[in-house]
Amino acid sequence: MKEKEIEDELVSIRSMMERSSKFISLSGLSGILAGVYALVGAGFIYYFIYVSVPDYYQITENTTPIKGLFYGSNGEIFYAGFDYNLQKILLTAFLVLFASVGTGVFLSARKAKRKEQPIWSSTSRALLFHMATPLLTGGILILILIAHRNYEIAAPAMLIFYGLALISASSYTFSMVKYLGLCEIILGLIAACLPGYGLLFWAIGFGVLHIIYGSMMYFKYDR
């Protein structure tokens, strides 16, 4: 056996191990776009919670309306905006979710095609399963909590469950996903300590972090 042959052999082993166990067609660009959608969505939700609430609805006996980003800690007004615009807020959140997932699937499928890799392989199925389990658990739990008017736990819980989903899926794709997951969990725990600031942390976690991570992925792997 010549040295060249042995090296070829080792290269093919390594590539099979990677390609069979990691989904490497995940698109960085879709991360950036998901971040942009989240920021736009957060802008709308801010408007629904804090601005577009009629005065008669938010002024109760004990509260005076204060305008500003962080007056969510003023419980009455925070709840008023949520109660009044709940449907619009949920609709915005779902639109952001669908747009992000849709873009992610579309761009990853395109990248898979370019790399001549199957998009629906046993690896991408494993990735999806390990991602969906924590995500659906969290999603259903949050809907239950919102139905009980526990609004301030929604943002931290979303960040934490999303982080857990990323970590559980990360062994099937780029290891960078694991660090994104850790950041989301830390952010979610901080947000849980600061009730009322949820939207701000939500915008950082789903908006800013996705844009940073997406651009890192894009420059490292997409091109």
């Binding site: 040295e3 052999e9 069979s20």
Partner: protein, 101 residues
């Protein structure tokens, strides 16, 4: 120095067999169709090499049905994993020797 050619596993002489084993080292189970797609090979070729590995008891075969479609999955045995590791070590030693020559 003696070249440890005899340590190289005959069962892995074929590139495709080595690749099948690589896939099964990092995945608990892998099904036939995914293997075929990943290794970009034909049904017959893949089946005959899988049979070869099965004969050596390097892999386990699980036959099941998904609806009406047969779904066959493969798993590396402990014996197979050990043999694969030994084969890799032998390759590594060969490289080292050729570098020092």
């Amino acid at each position: 120095m003696k070249v440890p050619f005899e340590k190289l596993d005959k069962a892995f002489e074929n590139r495709l067999r080595l690749q099948i084993m690589s896939v099964l080292m990092v995945n608990d189970r892998y099904d036939f169709n995914s293997l075929k797609e990943l290794l970009d090979t034909t049904d017959g070729n893949l089946a005959s090499h899988l049979k070869g590995l099965e004969k050596e008891e390097y892999i386990m075969v699980y036959k099941a049905f998904l609806g009406r479609k047969p779904n066959t999955t493969y798993e590396a045995t402990e014996k197979g994993k050990a043999a694969f590791k030994q084969h890799l070590n032998a390759l590594e030693q060969l490289i080292k020797q050729q570098k020092t020559k």
